[in-house]
Subunit: 424 residues, 4 copies
Amino acid sequence: MKLEKNVIDAHNQSLAQKHKSKLAHFLEENEGADAHIQKLRDFQIAIPSWALGTGGTRFGRFSGGGEPANLEEKMADIGVLHQLNQSSGAISLHIPWDIPKDAEKIMSLAKSLNLKFDAINSNTFQDQPNQKYSYKFGSLQNVDKNVRDQAVAHNIEVIKHGIALGSKSLTVWLADGSSFPGQLNFREAFENTLASLKEIYAALPADWKMFVEYKSNEPNFYSTTVADWGQSLLYATKLGPKAYTLVDLGHHLPNANIEQIVSLLLMEGKLGGFHFNDSKYGDDDLTTGAIKPYQLFLIFNELVEGMDHAKMNHASGLAWMIDASHNVKDPLEDLLQSVEAIMMAYAQALLVDRKALKNAQQKNDVSLAQEILQAAYRTDVRPLIAEARLQSGGALDPVKLFRSAKVREELIKERGTETKATGL
Amino acid sequence: MKLEKNVIDAHNQSLAQKHKSKLAHFLEENEGADAHIQKLRDFQIAIPSWALGTGGTRFGRFSGGGEPANLEEKMADIGVLHQLNQSSGAISLHIPWDIPKDAEKIMSLAKSLNLKFDAINSNTFQDQPNQKYSYKFGSLQNVDKNVRDQAVAHNIEVIKHGIALGSKSLTVWLADGSSFPGQLNFREAFENTLASLKEIYAALPADWKMFVEYKSNEPNFYSTTVADWGQSLLYATKLGPKAYTLVDLGHHLPNANIEQIVSLLLMEGKLGGFHFNDSKYGDDDLTTGAIKPYQLFLIFNELVEGMDHAKMNHASGLAWMIDASHNVKDPLEDLLQSVEAIMMAYAQALLVDRKALKNAQQKNDVSLAQEILQAAYRTDVRPLIAEARLQSGGALDPVKLFRSAKVREELIKERGTETKATGL
Amino acid sequence: MKLEKNVIDAHNQSLAQKHKSKLAHFLEENEGADAHIQKLRDFQIAIPSWALGTGGTRFGRFSGGGEPANLEEKMADIGVLHQLNQSSGAISLHIPWDIPKDAEKIMSLAKSLNLKFDAINSNTFQDQPNQKYSYKFGSLQNVDKNVRDQAVAHNIEVIKHGIALGSKSLTVWLADGSSFPGQLNFREAFENTLASLKEIYAALPADWKMFVEYKSNEPNFYSTTVADWGQSLLYATKLGPKAYTLVDLGHHLPNANIEQIVSLLLMEGKLGGFHFNDSKYGDDDLTTGAIKPYQLFLIFNELVEGMDHAKMNHASGLAWMIDASHNVKDPLEDLLQSVEAIMMAYAQALLVDRKALKNAQQKNDVSLAQEILQAAYRTDVRPLIAEARLQSGGALDPVKLFRSAKVREELIKERGTETKATGL
Amino acid sequence: MKLEKNVIDAHNQSLAQKHKSKLAHFLEENEGADAHIQKLRDFQIAIPSWALGTGGTRFGRFSGGGEPANLEEKMADIGVLHQLNQSSGAISLHIPWDIPKDAEKIMSLAKSLNLKFDAINSNTFQDQPNQKYSYKFGSLQNVDKNVRDQAVAHNIEVIKHGIALGSKSLTVWLADGSSFPGQLNFREAFENTLASLKEIYAALPADWKMFVEYKSNEPNFYSTTVADWGQSLLYATKLGPKAYTLVDLGHHLPNANIEQIVSLLLMEGKLGGFHFNDSKYGDDDLTTGAIKPYQLFLIFNELVEGMDHAKMNHASGLAWMIDASHNVKDPLEDLLQSVEAIMMAYAQALLVDRKALKNAQQKNDVSLAQEILQAAYRTDVRPLIAEARLQSGGALDPVKLFRSAKVREELIKERGTETKATGL
């Protein structure tokens, strides 16, 4: 399904007057903030192909309806999202869940939906039917060279799919690790993993990046072979200039200061991108901004500061992706909420008075530094984001329009209630 | 020191026009929100007498200057805070750090500063000079009846001081616990503590409350004898109707859902009050709202819902207190920031559309429930709080006025840089 | 499959001499320890019917082979375990995964395998085919009375199955909770849950117990409606004397002092039983004793002390069950290791010099208290446990015999590699 | 005070027969284990000069008696410890708490006590009287070059003291960090710290090492500038071959897998040494082995494996130190218990059947790998350690002799109850 332009227009018309008044007040209160609108418009967050269906836990899964049953339908869903918010113009594929049988056709569909292909993801954390060797005891780390070779070959295959679609980066998330003391030799697991990654790295086109994602635990419950940013950075450094660390917000030990990690990775020129989500306990994969919106702002505060310092383009310097699971919400509504929360955090970070903050820091004026950060955070930036959406052709209130346009009902009508999107 | 009325007036004058415009816009956007102004004006947060000086950690303490050297000076400091924000009209004393030698004189000073005496605090976690028995191995839990008796007697003494000052509640925070497996018999420690509390409870005046505070760890590092809300509730239930649980935001294990605890304690009629602060790792005692402002809002969301359900008066139904340590900020600025953050969370909770939220909950409409909560949270409520302050005679921008009126400089002039406030 | 008695005998014969020497040394070093052998023999740990197959995470599942495909085969597996260690003489069933079609036949099978039916478990955390209402948004807590009624009816059905098999207790574990702020009204969720539990409680036979299990998080990631021991105790107290709290070792927030909880629940007469497992991060469901064996000992230390104080029979006073997931080990080997670790912790706790410990505690002699506890913990109790097994007819080295007797190979031959045990 | 040789001999005599029997049984059960005795004898754990007095928390401090009042007395205390266990033949000094006024005299005292000077520690986390600039906002990270220069100069001064005493390494632990978002620019704090460390590094003698210690939090509660092993490794790598990471067991986020960190640092050739202690919640600084003895064993398991792989000498390859606080125990007893726990973990790690473990790992035989590790861990190695002590001239039961010889009573007689050791 696709929204008609006049549906969006009518929605915007109905909210236009109220929006104008809010925006005017906002711009009056935040001098010069209109300069940020273009940055907000340029900022695109990739939607992962595996997040369009109902998620589940090891205890169960409660389906919704109208889930996309194939890649084309997934892309259509993202197309609708992008029509609504004009900030979701990219898709992050997962192989083998989304193998494009006809790349050209898929490319042409993407073009018609105004979507690009962001980082492409390999999967060596599950066994596929007819797979020769099992990943039960790890893939790139495996003690058995045959298993490692198979996993390397899969990753190279994934790169090929990515090339065909115009993707420019490979995300490697490894479930590799151990669940019991003694199961692994940590050093050899690291060395095997590094050797495997080197083979994949060698297959990267010149203009590609490799993102080495880290995670503290799950699905292994004693050790993970790329467990934290320090380990990821070690791999990325040993691999070379095309290798970067990818930060998933839910992959840390309790209480980790993620914003500091972000700042240091930027300093090292080794931050590759993000998987956004939110969490309270572990890798809960909840809607971004649903639990710790201030932390999200603090992360964007470091991103803006660090990218400006390194003279990076905000929109294209890093890979921005959502990675979440939608167990109790409509996945599309959930994604709209996540994107909105990310845009808010980014906008608030843009509002931070950097010169004043720098000045306060130089004087160790801690109270004032807090005042400056919180002044930006407490600002209601919704009018600014809505305006950016409006200028790009999106909807003033995406979730509202999603509901009033009965998108889900339409999808159920089209696809039924029994389809199940591939993914977790 | 005391601020002159004309200083406050001049400050307000200078910001009046801008404030009016913001307020008008706020009220236009939030229909009916002016009804909350009186609630905000009535809401008073007690300042602990031990939080007016520089705090420290076990590793060191870096003094500021102009610290209050005695109770009268502490009250003067709170008087200034209250002049600035009109929301700090209460003081929470700590015995023996603040023994009032002449209660009547202190009462009259309080009146002149427009302050009331909130919950009074006992201290059995430190040994005082000339104390007969040591609290090294606990106080109310101690295996030695002599120690327990001494601690009980101290608490009863504290109640007497409180009576003389018009306080109506006793806060019992116990450091009692153990640092090593085997050190304590948990059951007997509980039973001793309960028996001791019963003796103190028996000495409470009819219109008093006893708050049993809990804490997961520190200064004991293996067990605490009132370690969580469940244990506190067990004591409070066994003690009787005057005993309540007190929640300190920093006293929980990592990831605890404090707002749920708050809701359940209100349900049981056993929530007594709060110690506000913020933290990232443990009992960090940072400025309220400095780390997890959304959590603070969610707590107030439960407070407003639960107190309304129980038909409690927001301002007087519970005891509202700050409990923080000020290691790197000016304590008075820090307290102003804490109070502001609390008022914001309270105002945002008042803005929640309760009927719509209830409706969404009844339909399991999770996305909508989030939209409703976040709509309130994302609202910039600063104009509303400023207006409440203004109407009560406070300053539109307390921290700004604190600085422009050179309060700290004045205090240093008066008291020097070497004074040290009693406290931690 | 069933082991032949002569296989066990031959195994024991081969290790007899070595065992005798170790035992003799052990008894020489630990005077009076032979008095514990009968206690160890009496101590039986129930095996959950859902733990006999390969477990999985939300990311995947890697099958082993020879898994039991039905209740009879599950019982056969437990029968083998019990033959090997003589400490697994009970089974904890899960409905609807293990509905006994012919209760009498099942009873007779159990008798032949020397097994009893321990607590029976209901399941309202998954939807079953043809179920009228969904548990997506909770069961006993649900805002919809129809859902609650369905969940209550299921639990009553489970009790009936339990009665038919001679079980004497019902374990209620609820996944009920919420994944997002605002989703639930905590108070009403509690009240609904309590009302539902009361209906189930009313259906309990006079000699039955109800175990209310708690869990901090997962599969809900914001709140759980029976989230901690305090909440469970609140329910159990409101329900009545047949309701108890059940402790699962993996269901706590980080750093929780579980042994103190155990002690206090025993004090209150409200500890019902245990789900044993081990974990490093969350509810990892690893082999008991694989990560924190000292914590397990400290828990047993409290259990022995508290049960003796309350004059409870160690073997029958509480319900002892394993609850784990076996993702990378053979489930039967894993269960043998778990039982062994539990028996060791129990034996070490029996060895604690209680009189000396009490004495040290009375003198606040913390170093000595630690020496006493660790003296017991550091003792190698394997000979004592082996002797208890031997006297009961089990194997001196269960894991070794499991392997040398090629149990798994036999099971695969019998059942093939494609069977999948119901469970998680 | 110093123990007379005949006191130790008499003690050993009294326990000789029992010891011999235990040892004989142990060696019978653990073939070839006598080969480990020399390794155990060689293994020396440095005692920090700040751990000989009563520790405290920010809430208070409860003195014991007989504390050493100066460096000579501290050395005497360690001398007694070393007499008792023959494993504490080194001291780790802290400047300015232990400035040796006459280095030669101190050296000669050390010789007479059979002590060496291990890593020497600087202190830039506290202000000293008459210090020109304050470390309130950090030292090596400070925005003010004057402060950084002062801190660098202090470290260079410390190196000089170390040279005079024959020390060969400098431990740099920084409290530097921030307590509030916005307070610091993380990148600049890192860069300032690195520049400062480079100046210190440049002053290191050719045969010295620099240990860069990391800590997740405390005394700063938002960020730490050397917060985790990844950051420490980044500094150490940028500094050069003489810079290493130092691991303090209590300085991690909850649930961190320390043993994996140890293994990877060894792999990188960048592990410098250890600060041993134990903890349940944060940096609790409890007796080593008092809370998580199995974790300690797992760490030593990696140490032995990794050092053997790198052909490092166990005793001299790394710096072994205790870093703990003694709030409720006699510091000397506490240290004896810590050393004993470390020796046990080391001995158990030596007992691991490495060949069998390797083999199990190669076959992904997870159950067997666990059996192998736990077989070593469950072994009661106390007789072996006692024998190593005996052969070196120490006491069979150090804590027992400490008590029977009334060491503490003697120290109180000598020094009184009012002395206070410098330290935390």
